[in-house]
């Protein structure tokens, strides 16, 4: 099968890979590049566990072909901490007990980051809407909503 070259930045680092045409970004990140923070829960765009940020927008990496990401800037949960210090969203998820099995957590954090990047002080309804594409089967939604609201408050306090 013909290989296709693809280059993009992942969490600020340049990556270049030859992939099989048709490979999803999820499989390219996990199997070729070794970033396993996006999870494959359904491989059909319904659970949100594979969510990543591509050029500032929330995307399902299981429905995104890697070859369409040439030149893109991709962010995953693995790249959020800076200098060993957790991102405020990661800290908030930790502090509000917003994880149980943890499988949905990286996708939840991606969805929450895009929300806060666009809407620094969201309402509770806006948080719920932003997370509506991410399934938590442990059904720990309330602490997750609280984590996002807490991270938003921390952001606004830092800005003030």
């Amino acid at each position: 099968m013909a290989k296709v070259p693809v280059q993009f930045t992942l969490n600020g680092s340049e990556k270049a890979e030859f992939i099989d045409s048709g490979t999803t970004l999820l499989n390219a990140l996990r199997d070729k590049i070794g970033d396993t923070s996006p999870k494959g829960g359904c491989h059909q765009g319904t659970c949100g566990a594979c969510s990543v940020i591509i050029d500032g927008e929330l995307r399902l990496s299981c429905l995104t072909l890697a070859e369409t990401c040439d030149g893109a800037a991709i962010t995953t949960t693995l790249g959020l901490a800076e200098g060993g210090v957790m991102h405020p969203l990661q800290r908030a998820f930790l502090d509000t007990f917003a994880t149980q099995c943890g499988f949905c957590t990286p996708g939840m954090i991606m969805a929450a980051k895009v929300l806060l990047d666009h809407t620094p002080n969201p309402s509770r309804d806006e948080v719920i809407e932003a997370l509506s594409g991410n399934i938590c089967r442990c059904t720990g939604y309330e602490p997750i909503i609280q984590a996002v609201l807490r991270a938003a408050r921390a952001n606004s306090q830092n800005a003030a």
Binding site: G41, L78, F97, T99, F103
Partner: protein, 455 residues
């Protein structure tokens, strides 16, 4: 949250310093940074992908299996059928002497439910495995199927599982698990009211976000390391050892964080065939359920039917209870004989009833085999019992919480399955619930205790 320490203050030390104090979860930093390793986060060079060819029929005889086209498909390394499995007929609970072995790893001559594994295809890529699986030709003779438990128990119903010989699990007590306590018919005869109701539930899928699977790596020392999301590590290790006729010392199971289980990952399903594939090819193998397989193939909670007949007095005492419970095991036992047995012990509920008669059946049908899920054997029973309690209270015009106080078991009461009640604390829990929910009950109930009868 308020911690009330006044209950049972005289029977325990006041050393509950951890309750009410937040402590960080040890696994949470890994979860929020994306560093937690789940089984599927491991991959190995040259890893093969396993895809299963499954029965499209609920019940059928297999006339022939032709894997020749699949074997020729580019990328296919090995195709496995029943004859490749050293000990193909197994049952999980054989480890605790609950037999007979009644399930095939790969179907041999017959399929008993729609989705049953028949042929395993190992290929270089997931796509090649999928395409080759579609080229396996299986000739079936479709047989009559039965999907309803009561139909399955009727004479002349299609026989689901020949290893049992009848469509129910044969306990040492006979066709059902039985509890007999007092004289239930005398109880009914003396009751002011009789209420008989039937309750039914459908199968429930756990639907964890991480699907069932494992990754197997053959090691240089002739061992196999199996990274798995099983919830039942030692059941899986020991059953794999039996199925593959391989000493446990050759098997290195690595568990760890499970991406949601809820009881759905206690069956021994993916590991034996993946390890067999690794053994026969010398290559690492991954076998990971698709979302469709997780929803359609993995064991759900059993469908249940519970028929409850109660005799109750106008003063609120339940004087007799007769329960017939049916647990739909699907085509194979897995954990269901145990689930049905648990129900037998549980159906009186947390209530003291002097005359009890319970029969619980574990029934085989041509449905997806059911197994464990969060309190299986008692959860559906609790739903039925507590709805029944509300109906009984309404029948005699009594407050439903006060009705439960009257019947609550207390320390020293003999339960129907002959276990004396100890450490019940039900009265105290209901007293606290009454306060917190602002559902007041008469003062005499607030003065009751789990210790002293006659209040």
């Amino acid at each position: 949250m308020e911690l009330r320490k006044n209950y049972f203050a005289d029977v325990r030390k006041d050393d509950l310093h951890e309750i009410g104090q937040p402590r960080p979860r040890s696994d949470s930093p890994g979860h929020v940074t994306g560093k937690t390793a789940y089984f599927a986060d491991r991959s190995f060079p040259g890893m093969l992908h396993l895809k299963m060819v499954r029965s499209p029929h609920h019940h059928a005889r297999i006339r022939s299996i032709d894997t020749s086209e699949a074997e020729k498909h580019p990328g296919v390394v090995r195709v496995l059928t029943a004859k490749d499995v050293p000990h193909n007929v197994y049952t999980i609970l054989i480890l605790i002497q609950i037999g007979p072995e009644d399930e095939t790893v790969l179907a041999d001559g017959k399929v008993r439910w729609k989705g049953e594994a028949v042929v395993a295809v190992l290929a270089e890529t997931e796509r090649a495995a999928q395409e080759a699986a579609a080229k396996v030709r299986i000739d079936y003779e479709v047989l009559p199927a039965v999907f309803d438990m009561e139909e399955a128990l009727k004479p002349g119903a299609p026989l689901v599982n020949e290893y049992h010989g009848q469509n129910y699990y044969l306990y040492d007590s006979g066709e059902c698990r039985k509890v007999r306590f007092g004289d239930v018919e005398a109880g009914f005869a003396g009751a002011d009211h009789i209420l008989e109701q039937s309750y039914q539930s459908s199968p429930i899928e756990h639907a964890p976000t991480e699907t069932t699977g494992c990754v197997v790596a053959p090691e240089g020392n002739d061992r196999f390391t199996c990274y798995t999301n099983t919830q039942a590590m030692f059941f899986t290790l020991d059953n794999t050892s039996i199925i593959l006729q391989m000493p446990g010392s050759k098997l290195h199971f690595v568990g760890g964080t499970v991406g949601g289980g809820f009881g759905g990952k206690v069956d021994v399903i993916v590991e034996p065939i993946a390890i067999l594939g690794a053994k026969l090819t010398g290559r690492p193998v991954c076998f990971i359920y698709s979302r469709e397989e997780e929803m359609q193939i993995s064991s759900p909670r059993a469908a249940e039917k519970v028929v409850i007949k109660d005799g109750v007095m106008t003063d609120g005492r339940i004087v007799a209870r007769k329960v017939t419970g049916y647990t739909d095991a699907g085509a194979y036992s897995r954990h269901s004989p145990y689930g049905a047995q648990k129900g037998a012990g549980h159906y009186p509920g947390p209530y003291t009833i002097p005359n009890v008669w319970i029969d619980t059946y574990c029934v085989y049908t041509n449905r997806t085999p059911s197994s464990a899920m969060r309190g299986f054997g008692v959860t559906i029973g609790d739903f039925a019992l507590e709805v029944q309690m509300d109906k009984l209270a309404r029948l005699i015009g009594m407050d439903p919480l006060e009705f439960r106080f009257i019947n609550a078991y207390r320390d020293g009461d003999m339960k129907a399955h002959r276990q004396p009640t100890e450490g019940a604390a039900l009265i105290e829990c209901m007293q606290e619930a009454s306060r917190v929910a602002n559902w007041p009950v008469a003062e005499k109930y607030m003065a009751m205790s789990s210790y002293a009868k006659g209040a």
